[in-house]
Subunit: 349 residues, 2 copies
């Protein structure tokens, strides 16, 4: 058997010749079967089968038609983690739903943080872009805009010329923060990283203006507003910054907080994963949720229901679908996605 690697290309012209028809008749056989006589069609298909022709070349077709029927998804520097992040997975599934429905492919553009990332954006044969939430200073944003194709950013940052699909993270954080911190004496926050350097740290309420991830910044500001509304000064709120959205890391950092001389009695996390880690740390410290420590998550994933976590519900899947439609050239009625606070047994109020 011939190696597929070495397979020479069979062209439509060769098929047409063998079938004894013009190239256009062969082309119509694939693109407008109705416009070709049964006789011609079967001759073309027979010739194709004989030559092992598997249909018009996608690149040539894209060039000629001016469309690739493919959407590009830019996963920022998360690449390595993106597939393992359940939020990102739901989001991708939402994009995939729409792509499958419309017969589009989705190309994942592997970004590494290296200088050639923008190069890859430029080289992407896609009709539109979807950018998974990234930092204000991410150079890919400019590269995507320069492509002059429909493009959407999920979460943020807002970029002139690109659509934005996101919930109001600040309002949602304010709302769930109010529930988390109700009745607490020492509120704390477990946060996503503040910059692309992904440094983990524990600080009193940090200056949010320097936070380059807009989603994280908005949530911190919402938590700040919630804390202040409950009577706390932001600099007295302990903020534990994790390098990644990861249950194990959140568990470790929560264990540290809980073993300090002034352990928190309310911890608002930024994902259900993190909250699950926090809950484990609380139990390991032989403390009770919510009596000793109130805990809140974010996203209302399966784990939130299982652990009875109070959390922010949003549909990443629906947002992924909205992004895909926008990248297909169908701008959303509104980029503001819906959210709600789901109250369960992990909080006091």
């Amino acid at each position: 058997m011939e190696s597929p690697v070495a397979a020479k290309r069979v062209t439509l012209a060769q098929v047409a010749e063998l079938a004894g028809v013009s190239v256009m008749t062969a082309s119509y056989t694939y693109n407008r079967p109705g416009r070709v006589s049964d006789d011609a069609r079967s001759k073309v298909l027979a010739a194709a089968a004989e030559l092992g022709y598997s249909g018009p070349d996608p690149s040539a077709r894209s060039l000629r038609r001016g469309t690739t029927r493919t959407l590009g998804v830019v996963l920022g520097e998360h690449l390595t983690y993106a597939f393992e992040d359940p939020q990102a997975a739901s989001f991708l599934a939402g994009i995939a739903d729409v792509c499958a429905d419309r017969g589009y492919g989705m190309t994942i553009l592997p970004i590494t943080g290296a200088a050639d990332d923008t190069e890859r954006i430029r080289a992407a044969a896609v009709d539109g872009f979807i950018v998974w939430t990234t930092s204000d200073d991410d150079p890919i944003l400019g590269a995507v805009r320069a492509m002059r194709r429909p493009a959407v950013v999920h979460g943020g940052p807002a970029v002139d010329g690109l659509e934005l699909v996101s919930i109001d993270n600040r309002a949602a954080a304010r709302a769930i923060g109010a529930v988390a911190f109700a009745g607490a004496r020492r509120p704390a926050v477990v946060s996503f990283p503040l910059s692309r350097a992904r440094i983990s740290a524990v600080t009193g309420g940090p200056d949010t203006s320097g936070v380059l991830f807009p989603v994280t910044r908005e949530r911190l500001e919402g938590y700040r507003q919630a804390a202040e509304a409950t009577g706390f000064a932001w600099h007295d709120v302990v903020v534990a910054v994790c390098a990644h959205n990861d249950a194990a890391e959140a568990e470790r950092i929560a264990a540290t907080l809980l073993s300090s001389t002034e352990p928190p009695d309310a911890i608002a996390a930024m994902s259900d994963e993190q909250a699950a880690g926090v809950v484990r740390a609380v139990r390991a410290a032989r403390l009770a949720v919510p009596h000793d420590v109130a805990v809140t998550g974010w996203d209302d994933a399966a784990v939130a229901a299982r652990l009875g976590l109070t959390t922010v519900a949003q549909s990443l899947r629906e947002q992924g679908a909205t992004c895909a439609r926008a990248a297909l050239g169908q701008p959303p009625d509104s980029g503001a996605a819906s959210w709600s606070v789901v109250r369960r047994a992990s909080t006091r109020a």
Copy 2:
């Protein structure tokens, strides 16, 4: 600001003309910057900036070069679940590693089970294919082969003309089944679905020859061998078939088994997710692992370590990378990936 949707294409020829150089000098500016004088290069880049030219058109380039620098990943009919399946996520991350390293994109080909799936395979502008484990009768396999490009199947089925990358599932199942069933009186299996119809059911050891998913078939046969080696007849082994790889479903079905008149005292699952669900069901029934019920998982995911599950360790990520290299035209030394049994506290032996 001009809408990006309506943006007209700027061509290299236009850039060259404005820069006052030939098209080839403009082309070299992008492809072999070293072969162009500083002067010419800056003129070209200035012209490109003025016109808003963002680099050579990817489709035209692909057509001319005969390569797309993109790998196609076929996720079978799992699409909707694939991103949420942690095994698939690791596998995709492994592919992404290699793609990022080589500057390749990866196109997810959304398969739905509908008749036009093969159409989408044909329309994919990719240099090679990676097929995520599917059933023997999946029509996409023929479509992929017909593309005559390097192609790899992960897990199975083995198809003439396509590479196969997999662990020896039967041997691994035999090995972990021996550990799971040691000292048991009533062994049981929690299985992936047996056909693409994904029917859930509880049966005595089923006829494995009719199982169309080769990975599932091999594992069932391995479990059968393990059970028989331990002294059981296969038809006395209860096999609970789940529709999906999902902790919640495994928990429900395990709860049913445990509340029967002859509850199993050893349950071998096909994933750590399923095993985690089984462990929850065991605890909910106020039974102890492994004293009352031994439980084994598969994959050695994070949850396995956390729950102390005895499991089969394999690196889906490494296998994904191997598949990607093979799809890039670099055939693996061997398609047989490595695995091992990790013994923890969830089994008796």
